[in-house]
C-alpha cells in the first residue's frame, strides 16, 4: 500500500520542506517515492499507520485554522502550518513532524541527483579521486 493514496499531499509537504523539490520532474518524484517506500518497507505496520495518519492530519487540520486543506494553501501558509507542528508544545506532535521530515529528507537527499546538485561527490577513491 502506498504511503499516501493521494500523492498531492506528500508532494505538497515535500515541496514545503525542500523548496527545490517543486522542480522535480515525474521521474524525480518516482525516485523520491521509491526511496520513501524502501525506507518504510521493513518498519512495523504500526509506524506506517502513524505516518499515514500524520499525513492525513496535515492535510485536514489547516481547515480549522485557515479554512482550506493543506494542498490548497499558499506556500507561505503551508510553511507556517508546518512550523507550528515543528514547535508544538506537545512532544508527540513535534516527534511526529520530525519523523515525517526525516522521511521527506531521506526521499529527497537520498537520491544521487540531489547529492550532486548540492556539490557532494564523496568517492571511495578519496584523495586520489578528488585531484
Amino acid at each position: 500500500m502506498p504511503l499516501d493514496p493521494d500523492p498531492t499531499i506528500l508532494r505538497a509537504i515535500v515541496s514545503t520542506i525542500v523548496p527545490e523539490a517543486a522542480a522535480l520532474d515525474d521521474r524525480g518524484w518516482l525516485e523520491l517515492n521509491q526511496v520513501v517506500e524502501a525506507l518504510l518497507r521493513d518498519r512495523p505496520e504500526s509506524l506506517k499507520r502513524q505516518v499515514r495518519m500524520f499525513l492525513t492530519a496535515i492535510q485536514w487540520l489547516p481547515v480549522l485554522r485557515y479554512g482550506r486543506a493543506f494542498t490548497r494553501l499558499h506556500p507561505a501558509a503551508r510553511a507556517r502550518f508546518l512550523a507550528h507542528l515543528q514547535n508544538d508544545p506537545i512532544q508527540k506532535v513535534r516527534v511526529g513532524f520530525w519523523g515525517l521530515r526525516t522521511i521527506v529528507l531521506a526521499g529527497y537527499y537520498g537520491r544521487p541527483q540531489a547529492a550532486q546538485a548540492i556539490g557532494y561527490n564523496a568517492s571511495p577513491g578519496g584523495w586520489e579521486a578528488s585531484r
Partner: protein, 501 residues
Amino acid sequence: MKRAAYDIVIVGSGAGGGTVAQELSPLCRQGVRIAVLEKGPRFRDEEFSGRELEMAGALYEDGGGFLTSDGAMTIAFGCAYGGSTVVYTGTSMLPPERVISRWNVPGLTHADLECRARKFMAENNAHLLQDGLINENNKLFAEGCRKLNYDVQQFPVNIKGCRGSSLCNLGCPNQAKQGTDRVQLPRAERNGVEVITRSEVLTVGERTLTVRVSAKPAGAKGDPSPWEPGDYRIDSRIVVLCAGAVNTPALLLRSGMGRTLPRLGAGFTTHPAFIIVGEHARAITNFVGHPKSYYVDRFAESDRFILETCMYFPFITAKSLAGFGAPHSTFMRAFPRLQMILVLACDKADAYNRVAIDKAGRPVVHYRFQGEAARGLIRGAMASAKILFAAGAVRVHMPVTLDTTGTTIESADAMRLDEIAAKAEFKPPVSAAHPQGGCGMGSDPSDSVTDSYGRVHGHPWLSVADASLFPNSLEINPYVTIMALADRVAQRIREEVSALL
C-alpha cells in the same frame, strides 16, 4: 527444531564478540568447539559502495534509525559481521581514569584496563594520522580551538591504507579500518572458530540458546548464512553475550532473567549528540579525507560535553540541520563550504533511562533527557559556534531554538554568543551512537548484573562482554574500552574453562 552443540557460544561479533572470539580461539586447538552467532550478514569487500541509504539500510539496525520509546532520539548501531566496528570511524581512545575510578567496580582497575586497551590499539594499528592526510574540515577545528585556547587533541585512528574516502560510517569501501571484521574475527576463524551470520538469538536458557537463522532476502547485500534457514536449539556449556547495550539486556529480559536480576536493563546511557554546522565563504576539503581527527574533552567534567570533528552525508546532514524550507536548503546547497562539529553530551545513568522489551520481546529503550545533558548540548553548541567563527565561518547553524536569530547565527553576532546561549532552548529530537549500560558491573544483584569479569550473577556459565557492562557513561568513544573489558572476560573464561566445560 534443528539441534547443534558447542562448548562456547559467543553472541555478537562487534568489539566485544570479536575480541572474545579471538582471545578464546587458541582453545580450538585443544578441541574446544566455539561458535559466534551474528544477527547481521557478512559483506563482501565489493559490496561497500559508499552510497548513503543503501549502506545505512544494509549495515545498521533499523537503517540507523532505532527509535527510543517516545520517538525523541534515534540510536545508531551496527548489525553485521563485525558489529558496530564496521561503521565507526576507528577513533581509538584509552578509557579515562576519572571515569573508571568513578565507576568504582570492585576488582576493576584503570591500570588493568589501560594495559589491555593499549594491546588492542597496537593490534588494530591505532596511530595519529599524518598531517598531509588531514582535511580542512579537521584542520579548521584545530585552528579555531587554538585561537580560543581550547586544549585540542588528535584522535588515534585504527586505519591501514586509508584513501580518505570519508565514508567510514557507511563501512570503509577500501577495507582500511581495522575493525573486528578485518582483524579479530578472521584470526579467530583461522584458529577454528565458526561464525554463523544471519542468526538471531531469541532466548538463552540454562546452557541452551534458541536461535533463528534467516534466509537472505531477495536483492539484499551480504552473503547467505552458512546454516540452513530455520529455528535451532543450540546447547553450549559457556555462553558469552556481546550483542550490544540494546540487544544484550533485551535478550536476557526476554529470557526471563529480570526476575533474579533487578538491575537488568538499568543504567542505560548513550551520549546524545547533534552536529553544529559552520559555513565558510570558500570551499574547503570536507568530504574527502578521514572525517574525525580532533576532539576537545576539557569540558566533559565541568560542562558535560565533548566536541569532535565529523563529516556526514547529505541525508544525515539534512536530518541534523534544524528547520526546513529555504534556510535549510541554503545550508545544504553550501555543502562544499561546510565545516561540521559533533557535540556529545555526557549523560549519566539514572532511574528512568533503561532497556526494556515489548510484548513481542523486542528491545525498547526508555530515555528521558536529563537537564544536565540538555544543558551540556547547549553549552557544547555554543562552544562549537565559537570554534567555527574563530576558524573563519561566516554563519553557523544551531539545532537549538535561539532568540531572534532563528537557527542561524551570522558572524556579526559572534560576540553575542554568550547572550544568545542564555536564552537558547534545547528540544529533542537528537541522535546517538554510543549505547552503553543495561548489564552493569558491580558486586551483587542489588547493584549490578555482572561482576567485574562479566559473569552474570548466579549464572557461572553465562557472561557479558560488550558496552552493556558499563555501569555509567564512558564519556569518550567506547570501542577500545569494550575490547579491554572483553579481553578480561575471555581471560577469566580461559582460566576457568576446565571447570566450566
